[in-house]
Every structure is written in C-alpha cells, then in structure tokens.
Symmetry: C2
Subunit: 891 residues, 2 copies
C-alpha cells in the first residue's frame, strides 16, 4: 500500500497545500523535503499556514540526471498550482491590483541551516509593484519589497555580487540623508528599484524579468542549482549527510512581517533547546522579514517580551506549541510571521538540542504522557551525552578567573584555547597540535571547517539562533556568541576587550553555559550527574543486553568508569605503566640486555611496580573483571631517538652511548605498525610474558588474601595464528601454576586467558584460535588499519579526499565508526567461527568503536557480549546499547 | 582394507625382514621409516639383504609421549626378533663361537643424511670378541671391530667425547710406531680395547656393558633420542620437514666390508644424479666400513673402476640397478657392502638429483617405457628447474678467467662471492647484504645454516657423496667439493691455493658443473634450453589449465619471459620507469609542485618517456596481454632523504633546499606500507592517472598504426573499496575516450580495466569491487603483509623464531609460500565473490607466490585464470601448473 503510494508519488512532480487541499500530507520528507512535508502537516492539522505547493526532491534529481535541465511538463504543473493559489487567495500573479507574491525556498529531507538559497517577494514586476502599493495602501512597502526581490533575485538566481547592490543602496541612503534602511523615503526606494534593475541588466546582459512565471522558473532552477554549490556539499560532508535525492522547492504565498509595527517575524523552539526547560523559547523582531532574524544582522528580542507587544499573538503561539507537540510528540523548531496582527506559521521541524536538553525533554515528555520510556530512550542521541559528561570549569577556579566580558551562552560546555582568527588558521594550528578557539565577528558556512576543529567558538555579533550558535549546538561544541564588547582585529591577529589586548598566542577560556569569556586557562572539572540523567541511564540499563566495560590503565580511570556505570575493564594497557620515571630505566635496561639472564634481571626490577599497579586496579574494580593486555608496542618506543637523550640513557645504565644508538638502529622498523610487537614480543622474549603474568597472579593472590575479589583476564595481543596462542597460553598457564605454588596459594584463581582479534588472519581463522581462547576482544583500531591498509598515523594525507561528497569513497571515518561492510565482516566472521568452536566464548570489543553509537548498534546485532570504551563514553555506550536492543528487537 | 592393515600395524612394534619372512613389505615408510620400508621391499624382491628387523616410528612417538621411556614389552619383542635372527643366521648374540653382530640405524619417513646416529658391530663383548676372532680366524679384525663398537657406542649412546678416544688411539699408534690405523697390530688393538673400556668407565661411571641385549636396548634408545637433537631439529626446520611421528630403528645383522681386500663398501646411484645419464654411478672403497665413504674421510674410487677389482660384483650391481629401477620405477640411491666377495644390499631410497638430472631421467624413463608422460610430469620437482634456468658463466668470460684449481663438480650452477670461513660468518655477512661462498675443509650438519645462505659451497676434502655435496644437490646450491689444493686457514680468514692467497674480502667464482675454482668475479650468462627440457615443457603445456604470465617492466625482461613461454605480462610496474636519470627530475618536479597546473606541467614531461616504454613492451609482447599497474609507491620514495642530495635536487629544480626538505618531511610516513600510495595517489592527484593512461593509450594507438597488436590491461592498485575503483575507472574511461579523440582514432582498443586485490577489505567486498573490474589480480605480497600484519621489511626480527620446529607457529615463510589457511581464504573469497557479480571475471595472481609450486597448486584449485611470476620462474610455473592440474584431476 505504502509502496503503491510512493510509486504514484514518484511520477507526480508537485503537491499543493492550502485550506481545502493538502495533497502531500503523510508522504514524508524524502519526497517533499523536511520543510515541504511539515508545511503539508501543519496545514493538515489546521495551523495557519500561507498556502503554496512543493516541487518534489525527485524533480531535483531529474534536473541533474538530464544535465541540469528542468523536466518536461514541470512548468505546466507549476502554472496549474499557481492558478490554484490565485483562486484560494483571490489574487493574481503579476496583477496590477491584487498581485500574488510568493517565496521560493529550498528544503531537503535533512535540515541544512543557512546552506540553501531563498527568494522572497517573487511575482513583483513594474506592473504588480503598483498593484501591491494599491492593495496595501503602502507605496513605500511595495517598492521596499521590489528592491529586495531584485537584489535577492540578482544575487541568488543570477549571481550578481550582493556588494554591488549594497553600494548602490548606500549611495541612495547618503543622497536621502537616511541613517538606516527604514529612513529611506518612498521616492528613494523607487529610484533604488530603477538603479537595481540597471545593475541587473548590466551584470546579466538581460533586463529584470517582467513575466512572473519566468521569475518563478528561474528561481526554481536556482534552488536546484544551490543543492550542489560548494558550501552545500561541504556542509553535507561535515555533517555526514548522504544518499539524498536532492532538494524540494517550496513555493508559498508571501506574508509580510515588515508591514508596520503590527507586523513582525520570529523563530523559536517549543522548549528551551539548551536546557530542555518546557517553556516556549525564541526571539522575534517587530516590522521585519524572517531572514533578518536568522542572519543575525539585527539583534532580536526574546519571545518572553512578546506579551508586552501583542498578548493575543503570544497566546496563539503557546497554543501552536501545544498543537505541534501533541502532533509531533517532540520539541519543534518553528518560524512564523505576523502580518498586520495575524499569525502565520512558515515552518516547523524537529528542534536541534543540546545533550542536556535532549535528556530533560525526553524525561519531561514521559512524565507528560506524550511519549513512553522506550521512545524516550530511543530519542536521545547517545553521542550528545558527551556534552553532559565533558568537564566544565572548576567552580573554585572560576571564582578567581578574570571574566573579560559576557556574551550569549550559545552552546554549553567549556573551551580553553589560543585565538585563531580565520577558519584556515584554526584548521592549520589544530593540525599542528594546538588547541584553538575560533574568534570571528560572525560565522558563515565558509567557516565550517574551522568551527569543526576549534575547541570553542566566540563571535562578537549574532544571537542564539545565528549561524555560529545553531551549528555549534548541533555539534555539541562550546560557543559564546554576540560578545559585542570584543573588538576583533583579524589582520593584526588580536582582540581588544575592555581595554585589554589578547593576541593569537594568548589563551582564553569560554563558558558556553554562561556566556563568560575569561582570561587565561581556567581549570576544568568532572561533571556530576543526577536526576533525569540517572533516569535515562536506568532506562538504558533496563533495555540493553550488551555489557559495558571501560578502557582504563590506572586506578583513577577505573574508579571514574565505575562511577559512570562500567561493568568491568575491557582493556587495561600495561605499556603505559612502563613510561613513568622510576620504571623506564629498568625497562630500558631490559631492552638493552644481551642475554636472557640480563633481561630477566631487569624485568625482576619491574615486577614490583606492575604488581602494585594491578593491586590498585583490582581494588578499584573489586569484583568486576579486568582484562589486562600484555605488552603490545614495539620495544623501540621505550628508547629515545635523539643523540642527547640516548647519551643520558647510556649514562644512567652505565653503558656506552654507542650501544644505545646501536640498539635503537637495530630496533628501527620500516613499518612499526606491522612489526615486532604484541604477542611477537612474547614469542621472542618469553621472559617478558612471564614477568607480567607473575605480577598479575601475585597481585590477584595479594588481593584475595585481603578479601578483595580480583578477576583478572589475561589478554594476549596481536595473535595472527592459533599456534601463537597455543604456545603463549601454555606458557601463561605454566607461569600461573608456578606463581601459585611459590606463593603457597591452593585455591582456584579463575583467571581467563584470551586474545585480541585485531589481525585479519585471526578473524579468518577464529575457529582455530578459539581452541586456545576463553575470550575474544576485537581490537578494531588495528583491525581497521590492516583490513583497509590504512596507517592511522598517515591517513590524513588522503582521508579528507575520501570523505568528500564528490568522491563518496567513504561515508564516515572508519576509525570513528566501524566499517560494517568490510571490517564488520571480519568481526562477524570472528564471532561466528569462534563460537562454532566454543559456544561459551565471551566476545567483546575494545577499539575506539566501543564508544561510538553506530558501531555499538552493530556490536549488538552480531551478538557481542560487551563493548569497552573510554570512561567518559561509558554512559553513551549504555544508552547506545539500549537503543540498539530496542531498534533490533524481534517483533 | 589399507586402513585395517594400518590399524593392526599401529599396535605392532616390530617387523622382521629375512629370507623366509618379510613382515613389513608394503606397510610404507610412515610406519617403518624410509630405510626400514626399503629393506623390507628389497628383501621381498629377492635382493641380497642381511636379515634384521625394524622398530616402528610409532614406538619412537610412544617413547616421547611417555617422557622418554621405552614402551613396555618392546624389549621382549626385540628379544624375540633377535632369536629369529640367530636362527636364520645360525649365530648367537654374545656367543663365544659364532656371535651375532648387528648394526642399529635410524630411519625416518624422510631421508635426513648425516643427521641420525648409527651404531655398528653391536653385540661384541669381551666374550663374543673371542668368538668373532675364532669365527673369522682374524683376531685383528675382531679387536678392530670391538674398538670401533666401544668408541661409537661411547660417543653416540653415552655422549663420551670422540676426541678422547682419538687421543688414546693416537697414543697407541705412536707406541706401536704405526703410521695409519691399519698398521696397528692385533696386540695394539687389544690394548686399545682395554683402554677404551677404561675411558668408557671413567666418563660414564659404569663399565662397558657386557650383555649384548643391554647394548641393544641402550642403542635403540639412543636412536630415539637422536630424533630430537638440536642438529636434527635444525635440519628438519631448514628442509621444512613436518608432521612425522619419529624415527624407526633398524636392527640388521652385520656384514663387513673391512674383512680384507676381497671386501669393500660403496654407495651409488642407479643413474647419474647430476646429469641424469643412465649409467650406474658411485664410489667404493676396498676393505672399508660403509661410514668411511659417507664421512668423506678416505677418498673413494669411482665405481667405473670396480670391474678391474671384481667384475662379478660389478655385474651383480648392474643387475641390482635393473631390478630396483623396474621395481621402484625411479632412480635409486643405494648402499652396499661386499663381505669376502659376497654382495649385500644395505639400503635403497629414491635418489636426490639435480633439476637437470630430474628432467633427463624423467624423459629417459618415458622413452624406456618405465613410466608414462603424466608420471614423468609429476616427478620433476618444479622448483628444481631453477638450476637449469639460473645463469651459468659466460663462456667468453670463462676463457680468460684464472682457474686456481679444480675440485669435484659436486652440485651444478655458478656461484660468485666473498669468502666466509664459518657457518656463522656466512649467515652474518649474508644478512648484512653480502654474497658469500662458504669455504670449509668439510661440512657437517652444524654448518647447515651457513650452507643454506651461502651462494655456493667450497670444500677441500670429501667426495661427491660427502655431506656438502649431498646437501647442496638437494637444495640446488652450487658446490665444488674436495678441492684438495686449497689450504684453508680458518683463524686468519684466508686460503692459500698454489702459492696465491685470498682473504675473506676477496671474491672467487665457483663452477659447480666443472669443479673449477676461479679468481675474481666471472661474468654469468643466461642458459639456453632445449631437448628434454623442451619436451617437459610440452608435456606441462599439455596438462596445465592455468595460463602463465610474467612480471616484467622492460622490453628485455618481456622478451626473456616470452622465450621462457610466458603468455602475457601479469604485472608491469610503472614506478621503475621513473627512477632513470632523465625521468627522476620531472618526477621530483611533479612531487614538489604546489598546484595542479604545475603538477600537470611536470607530468607532461614524463609522458613521452612512459609512452616510449609502453611501445617497447607492447612490441616485445606483440599480441599478448600486458597488465600495467599504475603508480604504486608513496611519493617520498622518489625524493632523497639526506641533506646533500636534497640540496642537489633543489639546485636542479631551481627551488630552495628548504623546500625540498619541507616536502620530504611533509611526505614522511610512520608506516609507508599503509600510507598514501597506490590508488590513493590517483584519488588525491588524478592528473597522475591521467598522464599514465594517456601514455598507455597513445602507445597502443601508435602500435596499432604500426600494425603491432597491443593489448594493454590497466590495473589500478591498492583498491580497498568499490567506490575508489568506480571513481578511477570512470576517470580512466574518460581519459581513454579523450586520447582516442585527440589522436583521431576511431577503432575499439579493447583496453581492460581492473584492479589488484591486495587489501583484505577488497577481497571481503569483492562482489562490490567486481562491478567496476574487468579483471582481478591478487597482489599476494601486500595481501600477506596485511592479513598477517607482517611488514616484509621488518619480519626478520621474529620470523626465524616463528619457523622453528619447537614453536611450530608457521610451517613456511608466508612470503614464499602462500598461506592457504588465512591469506588463501581471502583469495578464495575474492574469486568466488568477484565471479558471483561477474561470471567472466578474469582472475590472476602477481605476487611472488605466482612462481612458487605449492602456491600455484592452490591457485589452480581455487580456479584462477593465470599466475604471473618473474621471467626465470615461468618454466617452473608451467610445470607446477601442469602438476596441479594432474594432481587435482577429477577421477
């Protein structure tokens, strides 16, 4: 049935929405775009929407398929719909008495703020401008609308430089002695229209079209063209938006917010998108067109002030809020216009929100009976919880921080960094390892790259709905906007704020939750969680079937992860334990040793450190399993590579500097990633494994004797063949037995022995490998490196090109989101074959992907027992696991 | 039936062979060892074999399974068989009148010359030595036999240092004024026996056993022990011998070749193992024990001289040759002894032979009707053809070469290298990149490592059947043995030959086919093939179904490969074309360019070179397909890494040295193997692909216009995703069309576009990738690197440990022989999935494995269309492909 509907829809190009006919309702945004679908919905549920029609996304696809040509018959259909509009509104397109004016807007299935072009007041010509003046009894308004059309049409449709129109306007304003646009008299605007038409003719080679249908045709094509502009493509790239047909075009009858002081325009959210508070939230401007708010040119008024201006409209908006939320059962982001005291809804869409707001709104809506727990659990984007979990500023440190100024709290979180003044600079310095704040008067889509890599964004103009704010909230990036006291000198690379100067080399701290801009680096702290967050976690734990573990190498990290709900350690890396001052020396002694005996002597010095480390971690994780990975990196990582440090090492160890150098040379590898590391170290130097296992077993026994329940699981890394694991498992078991005997411990320690599956060959031969493994843990970082043949350290030379929409080679960075098509096959194979040999095999994942919601969904589907991720991502993983369980639930 | 037999066999420990009872015939060498099985066979077909019995390899396995303990009941069975021997020979073990003496020899399923211990004359005691003296009427002989037993038993069974016995013998000789062993009178030998017994007692703490059954028990155990000595393990490791149960023990009644001048001993081959000539070949010693020949201590006489000594025996041997060849239908390697004019056969086994001999013997045996063509095709070890294909010395260069001396032509081929005087030195210097000859007085199993890595082996003593010769022939390594004019000073690391001195730093040249030792480096040349070789190739081409291509980058290589029978080029690497003097400069200019335009300008300079290269190769391969791989290595490989060369490059290109350095730094990669290379270069720099494809198409058109049939196939390397290939195939097709248009060529060029499958992900997603590929070529070098996570450049730090028998992690170097268990799965998957999408997909392999017989067998089984290998390996691949087809033939 749905299919048949879609099939019919595919052949149809246009859907009308109006008082008596809402053709597109329920057809969805893939066909009509988000805006078009919502206009049809809103019309359908009786909200006051100016009538219009939507040209489908399919037409856009046809446009590109046929080499950028509008499909045959499309304009006939447009004309038919224009006639319907004329009839409904009792106006005529291009008429000299009651002219119909329309807006033409883009609207893809996914919202892309600021990315697509819009044309307003379309239908005005030399003839109909007179009609508009007559109909509104406002000649000034008519010519103001006309000059806006010519400007916008010239700029957006024909590519005439906006600055040329601006310069002309400035000239006229000067000649009229007008301080602002609104001071220009009618005659000035009329003259402006004439000059604008001349500019248009001069730059396009043809006169401004006087046939409104021709205007409409050109505008529609311009919308289609805007789908593939560089900035639109870039936005989709950064946002990871793929697979859309194109944009729809919405042609809608105009309403005017700039018809005087009883008119206005506004944008808003049905609930606070930052905090989630259930209160209508937004900004409006009296006597203004809608674009003025979004563009951040005039500073708007909070909607809280609206009752003072027009209580009835405010009350109507609150009713709209209820109607919309009851219909969509979610928080909405709306645009509206008031024309001469009458409210018109221009747009609604699901509102973007911070992680904190997402949690609160979901919990509130459950309490309000709008949605149930499952829907609430599914609705919170798991990744956005980062915003709640990231460190904020230490309250003590903030007490003494020097607050330079306060802007708008545009996007929460904390950010500390040096100042970058262009997007390019931000990108460049971030790549060089610096943490930077992007400081701009205002941001535009051209700045996307720089905004993405900066730790925070600071602007001196624009409101909470400006480009910077909207984009930053979407990403969960900290942003302070409209900090007007800051004067930015981009060329000199410095800012001045209340008499103080800060250069690109100075550090500032931003508090995105208060809008404060502070001097220097203010200390940050770990956030505390409670209330709604705890409720969401409770729901998550109720639905998820995956266990969540953490990657932690220290008792501190272990404790933090436990606090976040980790159910064990999935990856405890032991190599980090060798880098501390008092350990690196015996480690280096071991590496420089020439005999097994000398190596064993050096290892004996390391043993007590390792044992104490493990005791600390077992104590923190009391009762929960701790998967300990044996030494993994190549030995050269522990030796210095410059001559000076080598000489120092030689002195400390009492050997010749040449010997250190020689060993470094000997250990040098062309491709260390594929070299002598992981279990290969234990094959050639079994004494390293023996020392580590000894430390683990001694620590376990020490804990047991202190009545601390220790559950170590020994993980042997980089296994590529079953034979390696056979050999090393054997040695591990022998060592366990020996230590138990030496310690006089007779109880069973229940130490599991397993392996990481991170070499493609291990996944392919998992049935063999599983003979010697109590558990598998997929090391998807290395598995991704080898399956793709990408070195993580080197991939940046080509990965950006691979993620571009033009090439569409990769849909996501495979190191962030598990490549289910390739690497995922190996994971699935590993699970299936491993369990074929050993049905009770415990299987987990400990790569970065363990904290990525999309990857967690995959892990759930292939039947892993647990995912392991960094402590801060544990709550994200819990929620993502629940969402995976709900989404993949058998009906 | 066979199974039931084996099952019975498994429970039985001993099999007797003798005149009336040959229990083990047909049971095979896995159970009886090669020697035991052949003794049973020879006895069965009526050859004169001294009776005896064989203890199975299974008993050896039991010995190790039960912790080095002889199985219960074994000695009872031994005793029973000894009684049968006593009865057949009318002698008694330990008797004082007619004592039975036996030899105890090892014998595994695979022959391991010189590796296992042997004890002769067992059964002599203070009592039976008198019996032997009586029975032989030769007291001197009896005591000589006794002192040999005590010495051998002390050394081999009890581990008494051989030198201690030697020193004692020397003392006795001096006291008797004897120049050689044979000059020592009976009294001296009797005294020697007393002193030997005293040495034995002193070193072992117990008297020399006077119970012959006790002697036998200890000897049997010693044979079992010798299975796992370090040298035996090492030999199996080098030879890749795996999966054997253990060694059998052969207890055989003694016959004596040292009973006077009517006695003797010899070894031989039924045909010449070096040339294949159908003529009995070998050496013998009059009045000597068998071990004297093999050990290379006394220089033996050619068997051609035997008729002068005893025409009847010689005739009998020729009859034995015929009997054996008619029975085994293969060339045999035999050992025999003549005791007082009577011939006894002690051993037969399939003879090792050179590649040349293998070809001739196979062809001769077909002509003689002994075997058919298929058996002949299967019998020639394909890898051994190397010996026929490797360069020999240039005849012109040899005319003027200074021949220092002439030794025995022990193993054919040519070898040029500096002199290494110990195995360790040979290993060390080879690893450091030198080519060395191993120069030793004689070689022993301890030298195996050094022999294996040396380019050739030169000894000053020993014959054609000495350790050095036998081992070298087996490996196809060039060897000149017994060059007695060479005086070796191992300590001073020099040799003196006819008054000239050569140190470890001097180079010599060895001709293994003539025995010549020449000063300096003599030029080598390509061998010409004909006659029997051509016949074998004809058979191979008749049976094989795989096509054979070659890896060639130059017209010269292409021509050579055609001469060897290549049916196309499977891999033409284009990067090699950029390293020549006149090309590297524009290449570097391209790499240093900062804009696409500048890159294109530099590439335009490279275009004519590439085009001419391709014209040359197409011309050489006229009519045969040429698979051209687009640029593969990372760009930094084309820039110098030291400051001096960088400055030179900067000067040539007219840029600042800092710029070159900066670019080198920028291009540096942590893991270049997994970095910005292969098709990734074409994604980021499409202009490189465009230039290369342009050159290919221009060259093709130029050839077609000269009526040369050119068949290029464009291969895009390092594909990991279908999207990469889609993008680059598209660009390739566009470029082909553009060049055709620009050249005004309207015909169809039939250029295939395909990819290398060398990234695991490409194999996993082969069904997707195949959408855009006309062919796949498995790049198994890189595929092995990534599937195992082994960097080929770094693997030597651990691979030797992985190949050790103790660890048994890998059974072969996966870069030499395709790992069918892991990498092979990906190959199979790639073929299957690729063909699922595109049933006519052409699939080949172009890694090193394409020339490896075992890997070729796998390629045949998984249904590849072709294998591609280096020119010299083409004949090997042809034969291996035929063998694969015959072996895997459906019944």
């Amino acid at each position: 049935m749905a299919k048949a509907k879609a099939a019919t829809a595919a052949t149809r190009m246009i859907y009308y929405f109006g008082k008596d006919l809402t053709e597109g309702r329920g057809l969805g945004k893939d066909l009509l775009g988000g805006k078009g679908a919502n206009l049809a919905e809103m019309t359908g549920i009786g909200l006051p929407v100016p009538p219009g029609f939507t040209i489908t996304t399919g037409v856009c696809a046809q446009y590109y398929q046929s080499g950028r040509r509008l499909p045959d018959g499309m304009m006939d259909a447009v004309q038919k719909n224009v006639r319907m509009l004329e009839k409904e509104l009792d106006k005529v397109f291009g008429d000299d008495r009651h002219p119909l004016l329309v807006s033409v807007r883009s609207g893809a299935a996914v919202s892309m703020p600021g990315m697509m072009n819009t044309i307003l007041n379309l239908g005005l010509t030399d003839t109909s401008v007179v009609g508009l003046a007559n109909a509104t009894s406002n000649e000034r308004f008519a010519y103001d609308a006309y000059r806006r059309l010519i400007n916008m049409f010239g700029d957006v449709v024909m590519g005439v430089d906006h600055q040329v129109f601006e310069a002309c306007f400035s000239r006229i304003k000067r000649s009229c002695n007008a301080a602002s646009d609104t001071d220009v008299p009618t005659e000035g605007l009329r003259k402006l229209c004439e000059e604008y038409k001349e500019i248009y003719r001069k730059h396009t080679g043809e006169p401004f079209p006087q046939d409104p249908m021709r205007q409409l045709e050109l505008a529609i094509e311009a919308v289609f063209r805007s789908w593939n502009t560089e900035r639109a493509v870039k936005y989709r790239e950064v946002e990871g938006i793929r697979g859309l047909l194109g944009t729809a075009v919405n042609v809608q009858s105009m309403v005017f917010g700039n018809m005087g002081d009883d008119s206005g325009t506004g944008v808003g959210f049905t609930r606070n998108p930052t905090t989630g508070e259930n209160k209508f939230y937004g900004e409006f401007l009296v006597n203004a067109q809608g674009e003025d708010v979004v563009a951040g040119i005039r500073t708007p008024t909070s909607v809280d002030e609206m009752p003072k201006w027009n209580r009835s409209i405010y009350r109507q908006l609150l009713e709209v809020k209820t109607t919309l939320e009851n219909h969509y059962r979610d928080m909405q982001d709306i645009e509206y216009t008031i024309e001469r005291g009458k409210l018109y809804m221009l747009q609604t869409r699901t509102g973007k929100r911070t992680g904190m707001a997402a949690v609160k709104i979901a919990c509130d809506m459950v309490r309000e009976g709008l949605i149930d727990e499952e829907k609430a659990t599914l609705r919170i984007p798991a990744g956005d919880l980062t915003q709640l979990l990231l460190p904020g500023f230490d309250p003590e440190a903030k007490k003494t921080a020097e607050v330079l100024t306060k802007g708008l709290a545009a996007s929460p979180g904390s950010a500390v960094g040096k100042l970058a003044f262009t997007a390019a600079e931000a990108v460049h310095r971030t790549q060089a390892g610096e943490k930077v704040l992007l400081v701009r008067r205002e941001t535009s889509p051209e700045d996307i790259d720089g905004m993405h890599c900066a730790t925070g964004i600071l602007t001196s103009t624009g409101g909470r709905t400006s480009h910077a704010a909207v984009v930053a909230v979407g990403w969960g990036r900290c942003c302070v906007a409209g900090a007007g006291e800051i004067i930015i000198d981009e060329k000199a690379r410095k800012i001045r704020v209340n008499g103080k100067v800060f250069t690109h080399n100075d550090t500032l701290s931003l508090d995105g939750s208060t809008g404060e801009v502070m001097a220097g680096e203010v200390a940050t702290t770990t956030p505390k969680l409670s209330g709604d967050f705890a409720k969401v976690m409770k729901w998550a734990d109720k639905y998820r079937t995956l266990n969540i573990r953490t990657n932690a190498d220290t008792p501190q990290d272990a404790q933090r992860a436990r606090d976040f709900g980790a159910e064990g350690i999935g990856l405890c890396r032991t190599e980090h334990m060798f880098f501390e001052e008092d350990r690196i020396t015996p480690m280096r002694e071991m590496i420089l040793a020439e005999t097994r005996e000398a190596r064993e002597a050096a290892l004996a010095k390391l043993l007590p450190f390792q044992r104490e480390d493990f005791i600390g971690i077992f104590t923190a994780m009391k009762g929960l399993p701790v998967t300990i990975r044996l030494l993994d990196p190549p030995l050269h990582e522990f030796l210095p590579h410059d001559a000076k440090s080598q000489a120092e090492v030689a002195q400390v160890l009492g050997v010749k500097p040449s010997k250190v150098k020689e060993r470094v040379t000997q250990l040098h590898e062309a491709n260390p990633m594929l070299g002598h590391r992981g279990c290969r170290l234990s094959v050639t130097y079994p004494e390293i494994l023996v020392m580590q296992v000894t430390a683990i077993v001694q620590a376990t026994i020490a804990c047991k004797r202190k009545k601390i329940d220790a559950h170590p699981e020994i993980m042997i890394p980089l296994i590529g063949t079953a034979a390696e694991l056979r050999l090393l498992r054997d040695l591990t078991e022998k060592t366990i037995a020996q230590v138990k005997q030496a310690e006089g411990y007779t109880g069973d320690l229940h130490i599991l022995i397993g392996t990481m599956i991170e070499i493609p060959r291990a996944a392919l031969t998992a049935d063999d490998v599983a003979q010697y493994a109590d558990f598998f843990s997929f090391g998807t970082n290395d598995l991704t490196q080898m399956t793709f043949g990408y070195s993580r350290d080197d991939v940046n030379s080509f990965l950006p090109d691979y993620l571009k929409e033009e090439s569409q080679i990769l849909h996501a960075d495979p190191f962030q989101t598990l490549d289910t098509g390739g690497v995922g096959q190996l994971v699935e194979m590993g699970v299936e074959r491993g369990r074929k040999t050993r049905s009770d095999l415990k299987v987990g994942i400990c790569g970065e992907h363990g904290g990525d919601p999309a990857s967690i969904n995959f892990c759930h589907k292939v039947g892993l027992n647990y995912v392991s991720c960094s402590p801060f991502r544990v709550p994200i993983a819990r929620l993502a696991a629940a969402q995976a369980a709900l989404r993949n639930r058998k009906p």
